[in-house]
Symmetry: D2
Subunit: 149 residues, 4 copies
Amino acid sequence: MELSKFKHKCQVQVRTFDIDSQGIVHNSVYLKYLEIGRVEFRKSFGYKIRPDGTFNDGLRFVVVHNSIDYRSFAVLDDVLNIYTRVSWVKNSSFCFEQIIENDVTKKIICEGIGILVNLDKFKNEPSALDKKFLDELLQYDKEVAIIRD
Amino acid sequence: MELSKFKHKCQVQVRTFDIDSQGIVHNSVYLKYLEIGRVEFRKSFGYKIRPDGTFNDGLRFVVVHNSIDYRSFAVLDDVLNIYTRVSWVKNSSFCFEQIIENDVTKKIICEGIGILVNLDKFKNEPSALDKKFLDELLQYDKEVAIIRD
Amino acid sequence: MELSKFKHKCQVQVRTFDIDSQGIVHNSVYLKYLEIGRVEFRKSFGYKIRPDGTFNDGLRFVVVHNSIDYRSFAVLDDVLNIYTRVSWVKNSSFCFEQIIENDVTKKIICEGIGILVNLDKFKNEPSALDKKFLDELLQYDKEVAIIRD
Amino acid sequence: MELSKFKHKCQVQVRTFDIDSQGIVHNSVYLKYLEIGRVEFRKSFGYKIRPDGTFNDGLRFVVVHNSIDYRSFAVLDDVLNIYTRVSWVKNSSFCFEQIIENDVTKKIICEGIGILVNLDKFKNEPSALDKKFLDELLQYDKEVAIIRD
């Protein structure tokens, strides 16, 4: 992943309860950091999550794939930059690419991929992402790949 | 607790993974928020925690008591103010008083008490808090009660 | 608290992600262990929690107070016994007393108190606990104190 | 992944604090469940993790890659079977394959891959896995692929 492609950035600070007995951030905690980036990314478009976990435009995302490549360690008090972009959109799913770097040393801590699916509100079945979703993403970032079958 | 007595404040934002199935911050998560306040409080004196969990002035604290009174709910995206002070210091232990309020509505979310003990680095036994610790606290806040047997 | 008073026991094993940089269970994790005990206690009466966080008899509990006295450390792989009882019931609230002990050494790890309130399903206001709730508790444990104003 | 290839199984029960506002297990929690499987797998060979996070045979593993494919939802109180095997071993790294299934319905909940590296105790550099490690794995499961450059 190339950092220059990312337009959205937010920050998180490593806390005591994120650290394991090896003195480093526990591997599962990065999925929390990545989720912060994903939620803030979508909030930057003006949307927010309602108490039932759906977005206020009616979209309801569930994660169907996550992968993380851990490049380096993060330790207590580190300020981490979370870079987030959408790399592709299919009919009912889309893909986040993310990079976490140390804000001071600029060392890459990890790279993450997340694929989310939009689910129908009433049935637990994939539901097509609407044109508004696509248009907003493309207007924000022309590099988003629109993949149609 | 009176908010006017508190001089240290830091902030935290409620994240998706802090929320339970009732749509509110899970009761255990507040102990994490309170710990953020406690660590930031001590960092404001110039100290920091080393990879093994001890502070860089050699003090090693463990929590021997926690209590929380939950006054109201916090929900996703809420920005919370964490107010922290030390109310008393004994020979080897001291007490944090803390208030968490909603930054926008100023509603009190919860009040917390934490008692910590300084442990000897080599034996797991209480160890007297040194004069420097006391002096720094008193210089910062004259209201700290020094309790001697 | 006297261990002999407790009739409900369940177990939990300490996992890697429960451990902090000091090599011991993080102080906030015990609230999770105590919640396991509380949920299992109520499940032993035949109830279960629905996806929205309410119980299937319509009761909806929120925690209004938690306190823990930490007596000793728990470390990785420890099997812990969680003892749970209800000590008193008021009009719309009730109190859990709990003890966590090491299953092998029988050392007391911590003692916890939790006060829960039954909330109205539609309004966020305290709602009286019904006779069935009281009767079931008293039939299970005659020591439960019923406190009426 | 074929379930028939897996010889190691352990169980976990979904708890209230594992559930998010959508009423399902939060996507990050599965990395905790997978870690339980990985630790129990190695414990089945007679090893255990010391307070500093290293194993008692001197090996010190860090996770360099994790990926999860989420196939279905897990909800509160579900008992989950965690199946764990090592699929390959290279000079200083090895790969876990894992499947989590619902114990009652036998539905596959997710499949996970984890690549771990053995680090030198003193330097944070990859260190060759010894013959004992390889022999034990192969004796347990002839299907483990030994990959040599």
